[in-house]
């Protein structure tokens, strides 16, 4: 998406599509009522979140933009895997750095989740340094 203008919902609704490819203006109460739209159709798309990252960066919010960038990479990652990765990153869950590193390469390979993978790889190094692989319970 080029030349984005915030708020997207007001300035360019016709150009927004959900993660499932539904056009923003078509996501109406009628569509929901008739069963034409499901909860999954209300997920933001990779492109739109990347556009929000661009807007954040344009406001000088570099770290927020990086977060949106990571978020955009997670859009096609199923809920169950999201929970799995989150759980693995909590202290004492992964047994060693390799477990995190292999998850990172899996996400990179499967979902083109480059920035997320980098975050997990960094965690793997720091967790090793700070002894965060020991089980706590």
């Amino acid at each position: 998406m080029s030349a984005v203008k915030y708020p997207l919902s007001e300035n360019m609704p016709d150009r927004i599509k959900s993660a499932t490819g539904r056009r923003y203006p078509d996501l109406t109460v009628e569509a929901v009522a008739t069963g034409d739209a499901e909860i999954a159709d209300f997920q933001i798309s990779r492109e739109t979140l990347a556009a929000q990252a661009e807007i954040a960066a344009g406001q000088g919010r570099d770290t927020l933009a990086a977060n949106f960038q990571r978020g955009s990479e997670l859009i096609s990652v199923p809920d169950s895997e999201i929970f799995e990765v989150y759980e693995l990153l909590r202290p004492g869950r992964a047994k060693d750095a390799d477990e995190l590193l292999s998850k990172a390469s899996y996400l990179r390979r499967t979902y083109r989740a480059e920035k997320v993978a980098e975050l997990i790889e960094e965690a793997a190094r720091i967790y090793a340094e700070r002894n965060l692989f020991r089980r706590r319970y």
Binding site: L8, I39, I55, Q59, G60, D62, F83, E87, R90, I120
Partner: protein
């Protein structure tokens, strides 16, 4: 009362009994972490960068970094401005923070290159007044906002939906709920969403365990998440069962589902969690905030939060809490500024605590104003609670401040609560979650709190919640149910909220949804640069805030007097007949009573509610009892008590007279005195009794006999009598003044007391 200690100033006993004495005041003790700002163990700011690598930060070498240092060094410190930021004089930077000529953007730019110790040092230079001003300037969104806690002790969804809708009516931009029983989250969230929809679509969240909260979000049953907790020491962070990396992943996951998030931190948390490392509260919070910016959170909920009471117990604790919030704003984070925990049993401390925030305005002045009764708050009592909503409204009105709330009327409140309960009942029936009787509905609609409701048993609520979870119901199912049952506006609102996720506009910094539109720091940035700039209340908004419930005016006061005249027949309890111009009396013990122009003509009772006839009858009786002779005159040229009294005295054979105003103020005067140098005065008519008037009459008569009687004392218990009465008193007096005839001479009146008068 405790047993009295001999030879102790008993004011200490009085102080011992004050609610304030239930608070704890901790002595400063840096080794115990009990130090608000500038602990001797806080590091000196430093930053050494080699190429792109930070090799030392705040006195710690890279090889000794804990995980928080590492995360801050890697993701917070902006390499482009770090050198400039760290060499800027902290005092000079602090001065810039309160200089209207230095734009917010310049300050934010440099702050991104500051280490936690540098930030803490900067804030050490700012007084509470300066912090307040800096907050107004640094807030990210132009318009301030406010968030409500909506919970109840029974996790009752019917009460919750009604209270959520009411919170929206009051003006809250966000509603946060939580649970008493963990498994009830799904029922609370569904009810809260419906309530938010009835209120026109405010943002809603349910605070529970991190993973479960994300599940609710995925089902569309919350619109934002706030419990992404961050701590300032490594040990606390790990005890919170997370790391900066797991939290950074979590907020990215929320963003990927179009759900707004803010982090949570707050001074005092590390003290409570036992791992403060002897650092000051402010320094630890600076670390938290740098981590949050580093993670890419759009904002924070900070300012004490659960740690607010312990922080408030410290010398300078209130200033520290304010500093935390301003620091968040300086770091370009949306700031939901705490004020969500009762920090004191003293209402004065509570009122004082809110003032800097109310004056400055933050993105959310309270990150949880308890819109429900204190006992129903499942987070524990908030700084302000449902009981005190109107106190807060009065503060807004007193100082003309935008606190985010507005007065509500009884009829609109009934309407919205009824609609909310009916909507949820429809959803529950359509989705076969529960049958709801009319009695249950009524119970929730009219209840102030859960002690008055009779709806579900705790087991029933848990069964409802389990059904929602197990059947995988989502907001889409709620929309369908509402639509089918004719709640089309609510179905529309919820669809619109869901659809906003697809655009992602409310993921940006400080976003709220007002009237279906997203307003954030991007399209509504705070550009405060002195008088006439930044957020200004519109005339229409100000009129709403000013319209306090049960306000009085001249018409309503006069109307009440007319109703008194008509209903209680106060006027007809004596008959007054003019006997022509009043002359100077000669009887040595005569006491003349001079009544005001409106006395028993336009106004018929005193502010204490005594019929004028009864007051006059008592004064007559007192004069006679004291050996005097009463005579009644009406004075037209003044309504002032002193001049009424003096004029009466000058007509009196004894030289003593009584002035009597319609509102009940009475005075004994003597003819040779100066107008305002009276003999005895009842200045507090609202607490003056009939017997006091009788004794006043008696004293006037005894004075005519040359005695010096004991003055009549009207007992006063120290209540805010003027706050209660002065509006009405002033308006009554204005009515009196309106009847003055400056040219008219006093006339003598004969009086006949009729059946039913007297006591």
């Amino acid at each position: 009362m405790t047993d009295r200690v001999p030879n102790r100033w008993r004011r200490f006993d009085v102080w011992d009994e004050r609610p304030l004495r239930l608070d704890s005041f901790a002595e400063e003790s840096p080794v115990d972490g009990f130090c608000a700002v500038a602990s001797p163990f806080d590091p000196t700011p430093s930053l050494i960068i080699d190429g792109d690598t930070i090799v030392e930060m705040d006195g710690v070498r890279r090889e000794d970094f804990d995980m928080i240092d590492t995360f801050i060094a890697r993701h917070h410190i902006d390499r482009m401005v770090a050198a400039e930021a760290m060499t800027t004089d902290s005092a000079a930077f602090a001065r810039d923070m309160v200089d209207v000529n230095v734009p917010r953007a310049d300050l934010v730019r440099l702050a991104k290159g500051m280490t936690p110790a540098k930030l803490a040092e900067v804030f050490g230079h700012l007084s509470t007044l300066e912090l307040t001003f800096a907050q107004a300037k640094l807030r990210s969104r132009r318009e301030p906002g406010i968030q409500a806690h909506v919970t109840n002790a029974k996790d009752d969804p019917l009460q919750l939906v009604a209270d959520a809708a009411t919170a929206g009516l009051l003006g809250f931009d966000e509603i946060e709920t939580t649970v008493r029983v963990a498994s009830n989250g799904w029922s609370n969230a569904l009810a809260g969403m419906v309530g938010a929809a009835v209120a026109g679509g405010v943002l809603f969240q349910c605070s529970i365990e991190e993973a479960e909260e994300l599940r609710l979000g995925l089902a569309g049953l919350t619109s934002y998440a706030e419990t992404v907790s961050v701590y300032g020491s490594e040990e606390s962070f790990i005890d919170g069962d997370d790391t900066p990396w797991s939290k950074a992943f979590l907020i990215a996951a929320y963003a990927s589902r179009g759900i707004k998030t803010r982090c949570t931190s707050g001074g005092g948390a590390e003290i409570l969690m036992g791992s403060h490392n002897a650092k000051s509260v402010l320094y630890l919070e600076a670390r938290c905030l740098c981590v949050q910016r580093a993670m890419g959170s759009q904002g924070t909920q900070n300012g004490g939060i659960d740690g607010a009471p312990v922080t408030s117990s410290l010398p300078g604790g209130g200033r520290e809490i304010l500093a935390e919030n301003v620091m968040a704003a300086l770091l370009d984070l949306e700031c939901a500024s705490g004020n969500d925990t009762r920090i004191s049993s003293s209402e004065i401390r509570v009122g004082g605590k809110i003032m800097p925030f109310l004056m400055a305005g933050t993105d959310f002045i309270c990150s949880g104003f308890g819109s429900i009764p204190a006992y129903d708050n499942s987070f524990a009592a908030s700084l302000f609670n449902g009981e005190e909503v109107e106190d807060y409204l009065a503060l807004q009105r007193d100082f003309q401040l935008e606190g985010g709330l507005r007065p509500i009327e009884e009829s609109e409140t009934n309407d919205i609560r009824t609609r909310a309960v009916e909507a949820l009942a429809a959803v529950f029936e359509e989705l076969e979650l529960a049958e709801i009787t009319d009695a249950m509905k009524r119970s929730a609609i009219y209840a102030s709190g859960s002690q008055e409701t009779d709806t579900f048993t705790p087991g029933e609520v848990t069964r409802i919640a389990n059904k929602i979870r197990e059947r995988g119901l989502s907001l889409v199912d709620v929309v369908r149910a509402l639509n089918k049952r004719g709640f089309s506006a609510e179905a529309e609102t919820l669809t619109r909220l869901l659809r906003l996720r697809v655009a992602g506009d409310y993921l940006q910094t400080a976003a709220i949804v007002r009237g279906g539109r997203v307003i954030s720091a991007v399209n509504d940035p705070n550009g405060y640069s002195g008088p006439g700039t930044g957020h200004r209340m519109t005339e229409q908004r100000w009129r709403k805030i000013a319209a306090m419930r049960n306000s009085v005016n001249r018409a309503s006061v006069l109307d009440r007097e007319i109703r008194v005249a008509a209903s209680s027949a106060a006027k007809s309890r004596c008959r007054l007949v003019s006997k022509g111009p009043a002359g100077v009396g000669t009887a040595p013990h005569e006491v003349v009573i001079g009544v005001s122009p409106a006395w028993n003509e336009r106004i018929f009772q005193t502010t204490a509610g005594h019929a004028h006839a009864d007051v006059l009858k008592a004064i007559f009786a007192g004069i006679i009892e004291g050996g005097g002779t009463p005579r009644l005159v009406r004075i037209f040229y003044t309504a002032d008590t002193s001049f009424l009294g003096l004029s009466a005295a000058r007509l009196s054979g004894s030289g003593y007279g009584i002035g009597l105003q319609a509102k009940g103020t009475a005075v004994i005067h003597q003819k040779d005195r100066l107008p305002h140098h009276n003999v005895e005065l009842f200045s507090t008519a609202p607490i003056t009794s009939i017997d006091h008037y009788r004794r006043l009459g008696r004293n006037a008569a005894r004075l005519s006999h040359g005695e010096m009687p004991e003055p009549v004392v009207v007992p006063y218990d120290g209540q805010a009598i003027h706050a209660r009465n002065h509006v009405r008193t002033a308006l009554l007096y204005a009515i009196e003044v309106g009847t003055i005839d400056k040219a008219a001479s006093p006339i003598e009146l004969s009086v006949e007391f009729l059946e039913g008068s007297g006591r």
